[in-house]
């Protein structure tokens, strides 16, 4: 029941955020601050994870295709497509959930518990305009950069493995040629679109749960856990249906 309530409220927040977008010029500074915060906090970990993700993908496929003559020349296409269609946006979204979603919930839940949200309301200041809308804009602005960054570093990780591991009898040149041949703009755009949808899910779910928190410090912790679980399930569900649509 609580999950349904959270999602219902997330829907309301979505509508309210669209209404508040007319105040975007006034909130521009806040939006930029949230964008920088999201990028700055997430970029290093996205980089590290993506390099290893691309590397592992290249290693596993290279090892599996070892016995089929010439099949290792397709490692580039496998790593390239997997990264930009699935792993890039998905891993970035999971990291964003852990780093940003949880911190948004914790911050808003604490503001809610300590009556700061009520204080805003009594001042006739909209919490959605001040707290939700700038985060949504920041998330939507930052997500494509983070996803693309993850894709490129994933591809680089794959290339490093192809160049340096003995079990793979292919070359870096072949890796990039195969990657270029199969990865087209459509695949990249599909991944970026997924990234934007995931960003919306992360921000709205974390804001919804945060703003609805009542009680004390224990409830703040419970809300953060709930955000992580609900967001990850929602991202995977959304990923399946969007992937099906884009195929």
């Amino acid at each position: 029941m609580n999950v349904l309530k959270d999602w219902y409220y997330a829907g309301i927040l979505f509508v309210q955020t669209i209404r508040e977008l007319r105040f975007l010029p006034l909130q521009w500074e806040r939006c930029m601050r949230h964008s920088c915060n999201m990028g700055y906090q997430t970029l290093p970990i996205v980089g590290i994870l993506s390099i290893f993700m691309g590397g592992i993908l290249a290693l596993q496929t290279g090892y599996s295709l070892n016995k089929i003559p010439g099949a290792q020349n397709f490692i580039g296409s496998i790593v390239g497509l997997s990264m930009c269609r699935e792993l890039g946006p998905l891993m970035t979204a999971f990291l964003l959930t852990g780093r940003i979603g949880s911190s948004i919930t914790a911050e808003l839940a604490s503001m809610s518990v300590y009556q700061e949200i009520d204080a805003l309301k009594t001042m006739n200041l909209s919490p959605v305009r001040l707290l939700v809308m700038p985060r949504v804009v920041g998330g939507l602005f930052m997500m494509p950069f983070l996803t693309m960054f993850a894709n490129v570093l994933g591809w680089l990780g794959g290339w490093l493995v192809v160049e340096s591991v003995d079990v793979i009898h292919s070359t870096g040149n072949m890796y990039w040629r195969s990657l270029k041949k199969f990865v087209n703009m459509e695949s990249i755009h599909g991944g970026l679109l997924k990234g934007e949808l995931f960003a919306l899910i992360i921000i709205f779910v974390s804001c919804s749960i945060g703003l609805q928190t009542k009680g004390g410090p224990r409830e703040i912790g419970t809300s953060v856990t709930s955000t992580l679980v609900q967001t990850m399930i929602a991202i995977l569900t959304c990923d399946y249906f969007v992937s099906k649509l884009l195929l």
Binding site: L26, E107, S110, M111, Y114, Q115, E116, D118, A119, K121, T122, M123, N124, L125, R129, L130
Partner: protein, 257 residues
């Protein structure tokens, strides 16, 4: 700031508020006259804070209506003309902002005046409340009493039609509490803002209250003045105002016996 606005009348009519089928407030009716200090008293858990939430529009009554100058509160709030200053029990200052930014937030977001004017107004109110020099500090570095003063400053800066205080003297030592009481009285005398205070502080009711309502079983039977309150023969009020500590025959809750 500093000029008297025409004070508003608050009229609570037949208000009931229930939580999970349990009525916290029942058919509650009373009027707060323009410019007066109305004290809502009662033991913990009798619905003082709930009533204050209803008066501030943060929550809606289950039935009944609250009127501000004969207009329903909902309607008045929507019109954006009614400004309300609610001073929360713990201050509810924005912890991520400095004191200056806390006080400036209302003006900046509503684009009421320019930065130089904001600074002038904030300096004036901080001086008035004896808070000069704390602008750059963060709320976490302030004591409980200071936080309440800053919250009052924030309320005053909005030039409110009504000032609401939720337990302004709770968790404070007697000296600090009396300075807060003096401050509320001073602000009311000089600005004439209609003020509603929820408290169980007898000193506060006695010294600055014009009228006092004691919540009992979700309602207020009689509205008292400080004089009539202390002469009341109502057993509940007598017991509330003069609680006895009986060490010889203490009355424990049943689960302790």
């Amino acid at each position: 700031m500093g000029e008297k606005k025409s004070a508003v009348r608050i009229c609570v009519k037949q208000v009931t508020k229930t939580f999970a089928k349990k009525a916290v407030l029942q058919n509650l009716s009373f009027t707060v006259q323009p410019g007066e200090i109305f004290i809502i008293m009662g033991p913990s858990g009798t619905g003082k804070s709930v009533l204050l939430k209803l008066l501030s529009g943060l929550d809606q009554p289950t039935s009944g209506e609250i009127y501000i100058n004969d207009l329903p509160l909902k309607q008045v709030k929507k019109s954006n003309r009614y400004v309300l200053g609610l001073v929360f029990q713990a201050g509810a200052l924005f912890n991520s902002l400095s004191i200056f930014d806390n006080l400036a937030l209302y003006f900046r977001e509503r684009q009421i005046c320019k930065e130089a004017e904001i600074e002038k107004r904030i300096t004036h109110v901080l001086n008035l409340l004896g808070l000069q020099g704390i602008e750059k500090q963060m709320p976490s570095s302030l004591s409980g009493g200071m936080k309440k003063r800053v919250a009052l400053a924030r309320g005053l800066l909005m030039e409110p039609d009504v000032l609401l205080f939720d337990e302004p003297t709770s968790e404070l030592d007697l000296l600090t509490a009396s300075s807060i009481i003096e401050l509320i009285g001073y602000v009311n005398r000089h600005l004439g803002i209609t003020t509603v205070v929820s408290s169980h502080d007898i000193l506060l009711a006695k010294t600055i209250g014009h009228h006092i309502g004691v919540l009992q079983n979700g309602t207020m039977d009689t509205i008292y003045t400080p004089e009539t309150l202390f002469q009341s023969n109502n057993a509940f009020i007598k017991n509330f105002l003069n609680p006895r500590v009986n060490l010889e025959h203490p009355q424990f809750p049943s689960f302790l016996v």
